[in-house]
Subunit: 364 residues, 2 copies
Amino acid sequence: MALTEIDTPALLIDLDAYERNIIRMQSFADRAGLALRPHAKTHKCAVIARQQMAMGAVGVCCQKVSEAEALAFAGVSDIFVSNEIVGAAKLARLAALARLVRIRVCVDDAANVDDLARAAQRQGVEIDVLVEMDVGAGRCGVLTVDEVESLARRIETRPALRFKGIQAYHGAAQHVRDYHQRSNAVDNAAARASSAKDHLHRQGIECDVITGAGTGTYPFEAQSGVFTELQCGSYVFMDADYGRNLNRSGEPFSDYANSLFVLTTVMSKNRPGLAVVDAGLKAVSVDSGLPLVHGHHQIQYVAASDEHGQLDTSGAEDAVDIGSSLTLIPGHCDPTVNLYDWFVAYRGLRVVELWPIVARGAVR
Amino acid sequence: MALTEIDTPALLIDLDAYERNIIRMQSFADRAGLALRPHAKTHKCAVIARQQMAMGAVGVCCQKVSEAEALAFAGVSDIFVSNEIVGAAKLARLAALARLVRIRVCVDDAANVDDLARAAQRQGVEIDVLVEMDVGAGRCGVLTVDEVESLARRIETRPALRFKGIQAYHGAAQHVRDYHQRSNAVDNAAARASSAKDHLHRQGIECDVITGAGTGTYPFEAQSGVFTELQCGSYVFMDADYGRNLNRSGEPFSDYANSLFVLTTVMSKNRPGLAVVDAGLKAVSVDSGLPLVHGHHQIQYVAASDEHGQLDTSGAEDAVDIGSSLTLIPGHCDPTVNLYDWFVAYRGLRVVELWPIVARGAVR
């Protein structure tokens, strides 16, 4: 099937770019001697998770129990829920999943450790647990080494739990545009993780795993010598927002190619300089900025309403007749993926496969 | 089942508020002697569409052929696709649907009229067609009365099409905060629609239908004497953004009650003044502003990431222990609904029914 036969809006993966991205990140991790555990919240797709693991990833991350279920039931064998899981219902599901696949989870609260231990014990499973530290993001995670120690000890006293180490993910650093500011933020995060690890070591508690990093910062985590595992996710697709990060020389970050696009059709055109496409904010996420029009730098996507996108076409009037199709680079890949049920994977101009987004909508 | 047993995040409908909203809008339309054709892009739910029609609505609107299909296949009998439908594949599906239910659609382009006529003829159906005018939104629709006449004549020459009138929806006016500015915008829209209707009348072409209006402006369309049909959608749920509109006396618009909520759980709390909930931007749309915390005016939802929401709790520290649940008023109801597969309809503190969001993700 030709790409031009696909009805729009549709979510496309350019397989050539996607495969190069996977190889590049895995090669980086291999050279650095670090485990790569890509974040599956980006793609929510078991096909992609299994391809990442086939290339060398040790497993994947996800954020929700329902995401982990969807991936596990589709054959993904090692899943780290890199988030706190609260409430008896969710913990029971998480523990049940640990009977099927290898499961890891984060904690940042003592009572939550107890609840998790009870759920694991009921299911007769052992679960690997990481203590999350807030290393600068100001979101989840404990703040002091004493709190890390206290939670680690609590985990170690529960037979159904195994203390594995520390999560030190600096989410807020991922989109700091300036290279040196980004680097400094991660240096601070690494120093905090390192001091916690050293403190635990002095108490006789070892950290097998220090995990963190994203597509915006992973070289810094890698060179810190502190981290053992990288969680990058967006590198498989890239998006307009990551494209606004700057590298050391002040150029836009372009180590990974855009492989994710929204195919859209021009549906109305009644005045010079304006075209309306059929992809609005239910087809492409706008939380991190509007999409870019791929291959048409003279055309700007200037406004999104629910089902319409407005293009300023004054720079390239000829390219946008009614019925013509364009591809958009999403502003933010993760929530855009969450709007679709399928990826259309293509190579050149041919559709190769449809990949189900099994964890679409998996918010629980 | 008690509401407290629902796992989070979940999308709730407060049935008491929802039913009052439906009755109030239908009563308004009845008193004004206008047809009410609520926009189903808001709720994407056949249960709600059928309830609206049972209360007196003449049918519903939607924006996409796939939305119309989902609703038609779930028993909704009269659907206006209040949008331009472009491309042979979509037009063939639209025409096929007209064999099953009553279908209406908009056009703003001559070649599109021809394509639509061909599709309808192939299916042996007659389709009601409205010409969309741009009455101020600057998006879809033709600009001049001559263009309206030209398209109306073109429609009338096609045996498979019936010219029904004009769509004059002023989307951009819906969230103009000031009452008088909003009123003026709609007065201008009504004047343009009226002049087109009069122009057609002088040419011997009658408009049965002049359709438009939204929750932000419908009293103005109603009092214009020009419109025959109201398309309001958001009134069933309301949202934080519509709540920022001002009424005539400068007070917030509160004619309709919030009936749509996202139930969320506090999942992390490690520093004074901050709590993290499990509903981020994959659980509540942030395109029109962040959600509000229902019933807790001292607590602000201050930042959304993919799967986390950060609350400033410095005004009400006691209300937000880990594991406690809160309800959020979405910033924008339509794209929030599009993130979920089910509504949890409740009354008081009891779950009454689960209603499938059959057109969730229906972007094509």
